[in-house]
Symmetry: C2
Amino acid sequence: MPTVSSEELAAAAGVNSAKLRKDFSYLGSYGTRGVGYDVEYLVYQISRELGLTQDWPVVIVGIGNLGAALANYGGFASRGFRVAALIDADPQMAGKPVAGMPVQHTDELERIIQDNGVSIGVIATPAGAAQQVCDRLVAAGVTSILNFAPTVLTVPDGVDVRKVDLSIELQILAFHEQRKAGEEAADTMPAVAARKQPADKGPDGDVPAVMPA
Amino acid sequence: MPTVSSEELAAAAGVNSAKLRKDFSYLGSYGTRGVGYDVEYLVYQISRELGLTQDWPVVIVGIGNLGAALANYGGFASRGFRVAALIDADPQMAGKPVAGMPVQHTDELERIIQDNGVSIGVIATPAGAAQQVCDRLVAAGVTSILNFAPTVLTVPDGVDVRKVDLSIELQILAFHEQRKAGEEAADTMPAVAARKQPADKGPDGDVPAVMPA
DNA sequence: CCATCTTTGTGCACGCGTTCACAAAGACAT
DNA sequence: ATGTCTTTGTGAACGCGTGCACAAAGATGG
């Protein structure tokens, strides 16, 4: 039976082993003292807890460059996501194959969502169309939305929205790049301690929250 | 002179006003007691601190769907980034206009970087090509890399890499979606307290760090 | 010029997450 | 069986960031 110790995992992930053990204990995962964790069992438990064992049908609305990129992205399938439909408002796009799947017109949106039991929608439309698409998704039963459009969406309670701003990461790099050049005063600001992207923290983590347009 | 109080800003941003004032104090920004902060001055100071006032030339390598989407993304220009060149390994792509700019061949990579003084590179290639592209970028003088390819890049000290995984956000939504359905045991896990995406925290923030493939 | 009122800047306390450190548990050898 | 050795699970201490609360600063009006 292949096993790993919390110490090995912690070293590989670059975190403290005690924290890792405590985290595992929240999942109810039990290791064996003196041996470690059964790899197969551990992977299964974590996968289940994170929802990787479930099949999540998603729809992608707005098949421009970004929508097409997402449709082709391999990482989705391997994490339990299944692209149920690609939807675009442009009648010219309807029927066109993208990522081996015909694009469908926005008119079909409600039917597609209900037929496939979709609860997660991805918005990759221009900013102007995003709120309207969002409203229709929610009305049709979607309860989680991933928004790539540069707008803040308004949704009723019970619906989760996460906004992805592709320029934020670039912003963070530029912030550090600036500090590399001018070596004045990286002193009192506590947030700037870590320059490297922490393995266990998020894509942000070390840049101030406030940012003007 | 238009001003804002920390209280107003805090309410708008959904954070505590004391935290906001303390953050501003790190930037050396000075407000006026009894009045608030001069909006124009404040915007300028924050912009400068974040590097928004500088002009950052960037190159995008790998002009597939994602690369094209990034090239067309409006948010870059407004944040001080200037796309200096679009680079692709496919000779068929060379000269093709994307986002009003001709795609250039990989052979030109080193020359482009040096001619434009590029210090930030974006990798949107397939996983297999990413490390090789990364090595060439670094050798040519790039010191910050934004990686969209699903690989972990190895770089020398002094070079910053940030990896963007487009499926992580979807993963987080699915995680919460799962909890909405099965209402068993959202109890002992401390991480799951906040369901909404915090305005001042990162795209992640409330999902375990360890994740199997 | 003084009184009052507003809002900043910050010392201090609280709370939460991380880390330390160790007892308990189990494997494995003798 | 008994002892030793490894690694877990977790109580307790530590450290850091957040929020409270207030003195200092400056505007504004009488």
